[in-house]
């Protein structure tokens, strides 16, 4: 029937899935880091350094950075809790890997199609804060501790708007499975016209904005980067990390950005779907489409990151509890009413 319908022993399948997931995170981090951090930021900020190495457009910069990180001495502070200190970056990166388990890249290209996919993705994404807390605590550094506690406070405040922003989508799609949400958008129709399907960004525009803002806070990116706040806390919870361990945080940061961009693309922009394309063709085109949509979302997130100053911790809490959550609740209620009415 189609090319992918071959029998693969489950053990081999599992191995393939594991390899894919293990490859996706560093690759995503590399792509985002390269495209946005090094190139877009350099253009926006008139940076000369990252545009120089290697000749054409500074293509060598990222490789050079990688080599630099590998060369750095691995320093562990004397007072540090060594085991926790070493484990913390891993925890952060693991949480990133776990998100990708449920993100579909095609009708069959998904590691696990969980019925509670959205719920799962948002739950495991919060695991990273445990790694951050571990890093901050184990570093035996006051700046790191303040940074970690800020990260925890921030996560508690922004988990709620993030979830509520997604609730609207879930209500509209009638399912929490990410695959189901994608097909609801692909096969949907806008007032009977199904030319472009029904991407939820049109009906859930408020939800999309809320999701982006809250994701920004989850990723600890500007304007919500108080946990790392380099002008105040030097580097926050990462301050004592060097070399390869620091690189892990870096991969975690950009990998999670990729994950959230992919989530936003899946929830609001239709994920891998192109209207009218089904079956094997969708499996083949899906990853490409997903990456394109993901990059579009990531562009928005990084654009904000490079433009805005940082809020203060109390202002961030006020924004979350007084503005975002009420708007999100109203959005949920309106969506529910319309869903029932139609």
């Amino acid at each position: 029937m189609n090319a992918l319908a071959v029998e693969i022993p489950w053990g081999v399948l599992l191995a393939i899935k594991a390899v894919v997931i293990l490859a996706v995170v560093p690759l995503g981090a590399l792509v985002l880091g390269y495209t946005f951090l090094l190139k877009m930021m350099s253009h926006m900020q008139s940076r000369l350094g990252p545009m120089d190495p290697g000749g054409f457009h500074g293509w060598f910069q990222l490789i050079g950075d990688g080599i630099k990180f590998l060369q750095k001495e691995d320093i562990v502070p004397d007072e540090a809790d060594r085991r926790v200190f070493a484990l913390a970056p891993t925890v952060v990166v693991i949480s990133t890997f776990l998100i990708f388990v449920v993100i579909p890249a095609g009708p069959r290209l998904q590691v696990a199609n969980l019925d509670v996919g959205v719920f799962y993705a948002l739950a495991v994404s919060s695991l990273s804060v445990i790694g951050v807390l571990m890093a901050g605590w184990a570093s035996a550094n006051k700046f790191a501790l303040i940074g970690a506690l800020r990260a925890a406070a921030q996560l508690i405040a922004y988990e709620l708007p993030l979830l509520l922003a997604v609730v609207g989508v879930v209500i509209q799609a009638g399912t929490m499975s990410l695959q189901g949400i994608v097909s609801a958008q692909q096969d949907g129709a806008i007032f009977g016209w199904s030319g472009i399907g029904n991407p939820f960004i049109l009906t859930q525009f408020v939800g999309f904005l809320l999701f982006l803002i809250a994701a920004q806070a989850e990723l600890t990116q500007t304007p919500f980067d108080m946990p790392v706040a380099e002008s105040e806390l030097v580097a926050g919870y990462m301050v004592e990390y060097t070399g390869f361990r620091f690189l892990f945080f870096f991969i975690g940061e950009f990998g999670t950005a990729t994950a959230f961009a992919a989530l936003a693309a899946t929830l609001f922009l239709g994920g891998w779907s192109i209207p009218g394309v089904h079956g094997t063709a969708a499996d083949l085109l899906g990853p490409l489409v997903l990456v394109l949509k993901l990059m579009a979302v990531a562009f928005l997130m990084f654009w904000v990151r490079f433009t805005y100053p940082r809020l203060r911790e109390d202002q961030l809490q006020a924004l979350a509890w007084k503005v975002l959550i009420p708007i999100a609740l109203v959005n949920v209620i309106i969506t529910a009413i319309i869903k029932v009415a139609i």
């Binding site: 930021m41 926006m44 900020q45 008139s46 940076r47 006051k142 700046f143 303040i146 500007t222 304007p223 980067d225 108080m226 706040a229 380099e230 002008s231 105040e232 806390l233 030097v234 490079f306 433009t307 805005y308 100053p309 940082r310 809020l311 203060r312 911790e313 109390d314 202002q315």
Partner: protein, 395 residues
């Protein structure tokens, strides 16, 4: 409930009688966290240099802050006593290293006053233009740097980029980007290079455009305003009593600018310029005032170029400079504030004693008062908005 029978949690010393329930005692014990002492600096990105702040924190709130200075003390006042007058300008270049040219002016003036000579008008105009250029360079850096401290990376790069144009001008005229050492007693080392005036006109357009960019990107940003408005307020009178000067004081509503109000120096009496004040006295107004002053300086440079007189650039000065016995105090409006030199001469080739009044030293003296009760992030914005140079504090 008998509190005596109930064993207390070990480690906490609480009088059980003070609470109705033991549960209350527990809660209070847990919430009463000790103060934390945080050492900001000497190596900290916000102190741009080696200022050290010992901050006592309750959570994120500052209870007390102690600036510790002196990590960069180089003993310039003493060193001047072992130098001849022309050699001293090399040293004082390094006090406020961002606007070195402006540092030289008051010292050279003091020496000229004692020798009763005056630099020719063209030299005065060039000195004024270069002083204003170094003011622009310093403030452009501030306009970007402040954005960086508030968390926006982009303005910092714009600030550095646009400052580079101005530094190029200073380099073209003096030969040094940072430390021109261009002033001579009685005039200047060289005349302006060919094409400098036209180039400066172009650069001033770039500067004015840059100011518009900062106005849009930083001043107009809601988050920037939320972070700086009503943060770090200096009441005008209190600021004056601490010796705060320059843009910091003008941002507190004190209309005092030595270029206009002090003893006339350089070509400022010939210039038509506005002095900006802001009634609020907070971090935002300090940013706003410096932004306006950058614009005004660019306009002043353009005026100076229009009215640049011809003529010599050196007065008649003896080969070996010996300053007659006497004392002179010259103060000028430098980018960071009031800068003054009290020069005591005993008739030798070098000064007998020089007292340097640098702006940043007095500006940061108000820090313990300002930082009480603010949050940690505000410490950084306040430090950035006060805009000090470490060399100017420690000398």
């Amino acid at each position: 409930m008998s509190t005596t029978e109930q064993p207390m949690t070990p480690g906490f010393e609480v009088d059980p009688a003070a609470f109705r329930h033991l549960a209350d005692a527990q809660v209070n014990v847990e919430l009463d966290t000790g103060d934390m002492i945080l050492n900001m600096g000497p190596q900290h990105p916000a102190t741009h240099g080696t200022l050290r702040l010992v901050v006592r924190l309750d959570g994120e709130r500052v209870i007390a802050a102690d600036p510790v200075i002196g990590y960069m003390h180089r003993g310039y006042e003493k060193l001047t006593e072992f130098r001849t007058y022309p050699q001293v300008t090399t040293l004082i270049n390094r006090i406020d290293w961002l606007s070195s040219f402006a540092n030289e002016v008051p010292f050279v003036h003091a020496a000229e006053q004692l020798m009763e000579i005056e630099a020719p008008p063209r030299a005065q105009y060039i000195r004024t233009a270069l002083t204003e250029l170094s003011r622009i360079a310093t403030f452009l850096l501030f306009l970007g740097e402040m954005g960086l401290q508030v968390g926006a990376l982009t303005p910092a790069f714009y600030g550095f980029r646009d400052r580079e144009h101005v530094l190029n001008l200073i380099e073209a005229a003096t030969g040094g980007r940072f430390h021109p050492n261009f002033n001579r007693i009685g005039g200047l080392k060289d005349d302006l290079p060919w094409g400098w005036i036209a180039e400066t006109r172009n650069t001033m357009k770039i500067v004015l455009d840059a100011c518009d960019v900062f106005e849009d990107l930083v001043v107009g940003n809601e988050i920037f305003q939320a972070r700086t408005r009503s943060i770090g307020i200096i009441p005008g009178e209190l600021g004056a009593s601490y010796g705060v000067s320059g843009s910091n004081l003008r941002a507190s509503g004190v209309d005092w600018d030595l270029r206009r109000d002090g003893a006339p120096y350089l070509a400022y009496p010939d210039l038509d310029f506005q002095v900006f004040t802001h009634p609020d006295g907070d971090s935002f107004s300090r940013y706003w005032v410096r932004l306006q002053e950058t614009r005004e300086s660019a306009r002043m440079v353009l005026q100076l170029l229009d009215g640049m007189p011809a003529g010599p650039i050196m007065a008649k000065v003896p080969r070996i400079i010996k300053v007659p016995e006497g004392e002179a105090w010259v103060e000028t409006e430098n980018p960071l504030g009031q800068m003054g030199y009290y020069v005591v001469s005993k008739g030798a080739t070098g000064p007998f004693r020089v007292k340097i009044r640098s702006a940043s030293f007095s500006n940061v003296s108000i820090l313990p008062w300002m930082l009480r009760g603010v949050y940690v992030p505000d410490v950084v914005t306040i430090l950035a908005s006060l805009y000090f140079i470490l060399g100017d504090i420690d000398r």
